[in-house]
């Protein structure tokens, strides 16, 4: 098991390096326009967000509508940190790569978001389902309103700040190459997390929380853990966002933003990280592709969503994970019992059965 896993990790790494190579070539030879690069950057952010939300929404099975709030915490934290570093002349100047500051900032953003994740998660996760949805939505809104009213988080920030204004003048030091690898690492970490005893416990709790505690799992711990991990990555995504967009307004982290990411999770398949990756890309690109239709694009977007929900209610992939290894094996004609394919099917019918039996 270890061997095959190393092998598939290597294959994945090779594929990623190839993708990255293509990316470098496309960028360096100016084949990719700024526009496309911007969208790719947003895709990376969306991917991290969607995957992070998948941990709570998909794997833990709790409807949480506060993701954007944590993203906001990460964004503001990271922005304030790089601003502070810049004004205090820490890690800036000749020879010091911006990337270093950037990485420190997004990590800090993730950590603060995670801390808030714990604080919010402990009370919130006592509730379930729709109640949790509304309570996380509420926390998200509270975070937004508080940020909005903090003077040092508006305008030029710090003592020159003014509440209600967009925080401007954030160093736009998010480099697409760096962000690409940050995204890869985030997704990989979430993947290893989900494929460990922690992930297993989280999935078990979604299946049946009473049986989970009867198996000795401390469900509060695991729920809060899942929520915290998810908040951490949301914070990281926020940090990247801040340094891409260069100015922040609290309004962009409202509950509608949270639902956008939940939509990505459901669209890609609850419980499939690769599904979230694909959905994040598709749903980020879709409104752009629909620009031609200008006024009608949001109509088209909503109709497209409804149609997908009608014809593919478990999302594009269900719980199926796309695997390069499997793909290669398939191409090479090797037969491999594809366990997760079976799993995906069961889940599809399983949810239906639940509906019937209730």
């Amino acid at each position: 098991m270890k061997k095959s896993s190393i092998k598939s990790s290597l294959i994945n790494l090779v594929v990623l390096i190839i993708v990255f190579g293509i990316l470098i070539v496309l960028c360096e030879f100016d084949i990719l326009s700024n526009y496309i690069r911007g969208i790719l950057m947003v895709c990376c952010i969306s991917i991290i967000m969607a995957c992070s939300q998948n941990i709570t929404v998909g794997y833990l099975g709790q409807i949480a509508l506060g993701g954007a709030g944590f993203m906001g915490i990460g964004a503001y934290t990271a922005a304030i940190i790089t601003k502070a570093m810049a004004s205090a002349n820490i890690l800036v100047g000749e020879g010091v790569p911006d990337t270093l500051r950037f990485l420190i900032a997004i990590l800090a953003g993730g950590i603060l978001a995670a801390i808030f994740g714990v604080l919010v998660g402990i009370p919130a996760l006592r509730l379930r389902g729709d109640y949790l949805a509304i309570i996380t939505l509420g926390f998200g809104e509270i975070i937004r309103v508080v940020i909005q009213n903090l003077k040092f988080l508006g305008g030029k920030g710090f003592s020159e700040g003014s509440a209600g204004q967009a925080l401007v003048g954030i160093n736009r030091i998010s480099n697409l190459y760096v962000v690409f690898w940050v995204m890869v690492i985030c997704v990989a970490l979430m993947y290893t997390f989900i494929r460990s005893k922690y992930g297993r416990a989280i999935i078990a709790i979604r299946n049946d929380d009473i049986a989970a505690s009867a198996s000795g799992l401390n469900i509060t711990f695991y729920k809060v853990l899942a929520f915290t991990v998810s908040s951490f990555f949301a914070g990281v995504a926020g940090g990247i966002f801040a340094h891409y967009i260069g100015s922040l307004s609290a309004g962009s982290f409202g509950w509608l933003k949270s639902t956008e990411y939940v939509i990505m999770v459901v669209f890609g398949g609850m419980g499939s990280l690769t599904g979230s990756v694909i959905a994040a890309i598709v749903l980020t690109a879709l409104p752009e592709a629909l620009r031609e239709f200008s006024d009608y694009r949001m109509l088209a977007y909503s109709v497209a969503l409804i149609i997908v929900m009608i014809y593919r209610p478990t999302g594009l992939l269900g719980t199926y994970e796309v695997s390069v290894t499997r793909l290669i094996n398939k191409i090479l004609g090797k037969k491999e019992p594809s366990l997760h394919a079976i799993k995906a099917e069961v889940e599809a019918s399983g949810t239906k059965e639940e509906e019937v039996v209730k």
């Binding site: 700024n34 209600g164 204004q165 260069g246 962009s252």
Partner: protein, 375 residues
């Protein structure tokens, strides 16, 4: 000056696709969908009106203007995507947009990087044009407008005690409030009550207004948009028993279309504006008539007028530069003088107009020019 001798009826279609050499392409960004869509609508109408006029009059440098109108949904990321798309298109010589300060703040650094003019018709937050060479605007900035309101209160209305109601979550409203309060001190006004709402989209301000009515303020500064002034703020203030002056900024323009049936409620309300619709100058009258004919008076407001002027500012710059080169346009626009619907002005070194404000007063449902104030 702006060309105003054409009616909209014989305008050529703006989307006419012709070869690059024969047209001048201008990009626009505004919130055309989502909950700020009403602002986007007014701006797009204003832009279209101006472009149609210019094209009908023979275009610029002998070429027709073609617009690429993109939507930002009021969202910074969408705005950035839209901007990149326009900047990447080498045919686009300048960008008009965006409407809100939040989104425009995000576009400003991009404009500088891509070296393309970003002319915002309406983003009034002070910081928007601060740092960036390529960013200009057609409107005055919040700190100026807020100051003028205080000046009017102190010097013309001669009130002493004032109250403020603002939306802390809205850059426009919060910015104006800050400027007003700063200036209030300077002009010897006493702020006796200050209340806030979390956004400009609230519908109920009764609680705050009851408090204000309970204070001894004679004057209320409420920097909101017409969409909440007409149906909510003024009637609720009057219902709460506040009979003093209610004053706002350019966001009040358009209130006439959103007033409730009892127009007398709006008497004793003033606002600072970029222009006065009943200004008898040809520029204003032509604009008002042409706009109302084409899009109806409902969405006619300062946003539309500013957008309209922005197009003419850009036209003038292109003519002056005698080129559609992006940098040339920038150089031409920098420090330009302009006279249009929203007044005559010169751009300062940050790219913000220095212009006088028109004080408009509501009288039985009509907006009437009261006075003009300058520094």
């Amino acid at each position: 000056g702006s060309s105003t001798n054409n009616s909209a009826a014989d305008a050529t279609p703006t989307a006419a696709a012709s070869s690059d050499a024969e047209t001048i392409k201008i990009g626009t960004i505004s919130p055309n969908t989502g909950n700020l869509a009403a602002y986007g609508e007014a701006v797009v109408n204003g832009i279209n009106l101006a472009v149609d006029e210019i094209n009908a009059a023979g275009g610029v440098l002998g070429k027709q203007i073609v617009l690429e109108t993109l939507d930002d949904k009021g969202d910074a990321v969408e705005g950035a995507n839209a901007f990149n798309k326009l900047a990447d298109d080498s045919n686009v010589c300048a960008v008009i947009g965006s409407v809100t300060s939040g989104v425009t703040s995000g576009l400003a650094p991009l404009a500088n990087e891509s070296k393309i003019v970003l002319l915002t018709p309406t983003a009034t937050a002070d910081t928007v044009t601060d740092a960036d060479d390529y960013v200009f605007r057609a409107c005055f900035k919040d700190s100026y407008q807020g100051r003028m309101a205080a000046k009017f209160a102190a010097e013309v209305l001669k009130v002493k005690k004032v109250a403020v109601l603002y939306a802390s979550g809205d850059a426009y409203s919060a910015g104006l409030r800050e400027a007003f309060i700063a200036a209030a001190e300077e002009f010897g006004l006493e702020v006796v009550a200050e209340e806030s709402s979390s956004s400009t989209e609230d519908t109920d301000y009764s609680a705050q207004l009851t408090n204000i009515a309970g204070s001894d303020a004679e004057f209320l500064f409420a920097p909101y948009y017409y969409s909440s002034v007409g149906p909510y703020i003024v009637p609720q203030a009057r219902a709460a028993g506040f009979d003093g002056v209610i004053m706002g900024a350019d966001g009040f323009d358009g209130t006439i279309a959103t007033m409730v049936d009892d127009k007398s409620l709006y008497n004793n309300c003033y606002f600072t504006n970029h222009y006065s619709p009943d200004d008898t100058s040809a520029a204003v009258q032509n604009f008002v008539t042409a706009y109302s004919d084409k899009y109806g008076a409902e969405s006619l407001n300062a946003l539309a007028a500013l957008a309209y002027d922005a197009v003419y500012m850009l036209r003038d710059s292109i003519v002056k530069a005698n080129s559609t080169d992006r940098t040339a346009i920038r150089d031409a626009m920098s420090g330009m003088s302009f006279s249009g619907v929203t007044g005559s002005f010169t751009l300062d070194e940050t790219g913000t107009p220095e212009k006088s404000v028109a004080i408009i007063e509501f009288k039985d449902g009509a907006a009437i020019w009261n006075s003009t104030l300058g520094n």
